[in-house]
């Protein structure tokens, strides 16, 4: 019995500003089940980040439906969304996005400050998360004292410290060298397998996508059917008869 963690129906996002009118995502129907590790692929501007942001409730859709972890995101106020995201989502950015004034430990502790945990418990959780990503000996280091790969591991620790149901990553290896990228991807795969975390990861990189259990492609705002890459889809569209 697979339980749907993400369900979108005809999810659409348009950006309208003055004479600009961009359809970043059009009628996307996506289902992600618990335990899935989904890679979202596609060329630049195809709408990958847009879809990820909608799932994380960092932005609101123009139309269509979106349920994440059983919650209709459109029904929540901004404040409620902030709490919801803190409790259920771990987000990993391409550029790590650690706060430079805080140590690794304090960066990881940050999302816990919004919970009811006491100071000592927060520190303990944060230290555990850092150990899990192999940085148990770098607790007091500041971002500027860490390598890119280490920074991204701190960011992963920050994303998992609240024990979220869903981890979202937007090109997490985009700023890393091959070795660090493999470290990070191995770590995500481990979180998926050993801890059963559901992960949606945006990436350009087929190597990165190979760590995922499922791959979905986007092109020009359209989410291609499962198992189809852009070329096949184009070919399919050119030959009516094969279903899309």
């Amino acid at each position: 019995m697979s339980e749907a963690v993400i369900e979108t129906t005809k999810l659409t996002k348009e950006f309208i500003r003055d004479e600009f009118h961009v359809v970043a995502l059009k009628d996307a129907d996506l289902t992600v089940n618990r335990g899935d590790f989904v890679a979202l692929m596609g060329p630049s501007g195809s709408g990958k980040s847009t879809l990820l942001h909608l799932i994380a409730a960092m932005d609101r859709p123009s139309s269509g439906e979106i349920r994440v972890l059983g919650q209709d995101l459109r029904a929540l106020t901004d404040r409620a969304i902030a709490h919801w995201r803190n409790a259920h989502i771990g987000f990993i950015f391409q550029s790590f996005n650690l706060l430079p004034v805080l140590s690794a430990l304090e960066n990881v502790e940050l999302p816990l400050k919004l919970t009811n945990l006491k100071g000592a418990e927060r520190m303990e959780h944060a230290a555990t998360a850092l150990k899990l990503v192999g940085l148990g000996d770098r607790l007091g280091h500041y971002p500027r004292q860490l390598s890119g790969g280490q920074e991204q591991r701190v960011a992963i620790a920050r994303a998992i410290v609240t024990d979220p149901d869903l981890i979202l990553a937007d090109e997490p290896t985009g700023n890393l060298d091959a070795a660090s990228a493999t470290d990070v991807l191995t770590m995500l795969a481990r979180l998926n397998k050993e801890f059963g975390k559901t992960i949606v990861m945006v990436t350009h990189d087929p190597h990165a996508a190979s760590f995922a259990t499922r791959v979905r492609h986007l092109e020009k705002g359209l989410l291609l059917p499962e198992g189809q890459a852009p070329e096949e889809w184009n070919a399919a569209a050119a030959h009516p008869g094969s279903e899309g």
Partner: protein, 389 residues
Amino acid sequence: MHRLGSLIVKSGLRNRRRSALTIASTAASLCLLGILMAMYGALFYGGDETPAQALRLITHHKVGLADAMPVSYRDKIRSLAGVRDAMVWQWFGGTYKDARDQRNFFARFAVEPDRFFRIRPEIVISGDAKRAFENGRTACIATEKLARKFGWKTGERITLVGDIFPVTLELTLAGTYTDPENSEALFFSQDYLRESLPVGNSQRDQAGAFQVQAMSAADVVKVAREIDAAFDNSPAPTKTESERAFQLSFVSFLGNLKLFLAAVSGAIAFTLLLVSGNTISMSVRERVGEVGILKTLGFTPGMILGMILGESAVISGIGGGMGVALAAVICVGLRQGAGGFANLQTMAVTPAVAALAMGTAVLIGLVSSVGPAVSASRTSILESLRYTG
């Protein structure tokens, strides 16, 4: 919000140089503001009005302090209802030793010794000195502070050369006294002054001011009105004020000091507002991206708002605290140099002044950051994140 305290402090002080400059400029402004407030407080609310002072009024010529009134007014004033006593209160002026030395300036008044201690009961003086002052024709008394300054001993011969009055007075120090005002003053008998004036000199029959003692503090306003009404149609109409109001009018005599102090304080506060507003909006603008990160982690707009306001309050609070402390130290120095200007001797960064100054500092911090804080809290996550590396 208390959990975010350390983040607020760390964020607020992240840019050492800028924080130091902001804190320093806040401290400097607040130091100045604190001193001005202390000065204002001392001049216009300085010291506590003693019960005896609350009973006293000063009657002077309506036109100004330089015009004299007939000395006979005193008896007329005494006869009015609500008046307990009245005496001549004559500013002598003149010079002691060398007028070019500022040190030699102090207040000298011709008064009526037999009434003096009744009207000014707060004065503390020995019985001997008091009797010697009341009975000696050329006797004078001085505040202990003044006597100490010149090294005067009882029996000291003090020569005052008049300027308003064409006389030279040879006074003998009958003793010293203390009073709550802690001023530098010398008093002698107005009879001696009068007798020293040449016969036929109109100043003999005139007085520059009268000091009046009311029956009760509640009567003071009414008594003042009645005194002035009594002389309204005479050639020398009067103006009667409470002693305190008189001192204040004396102060504002030096230009509109009150307005001046308020204007300077306002200008300082306004400048600080602009400076710190500029700094805050600069530092908030630099960190739009971080706001996006925090929001992604689940921080609500309200928290962002509170954090930015808090940061600004921390910085201006630190600067304000340093400024107020500095002002307190400077006030001690100014107080010692205040000399004969009695009011300024009470000048101090009182808890009220400190609270007011600190409040101003923090308020300026909050007001100057409210704009950037609101806009940062309202900016959407994706918009904010666009500013990250």
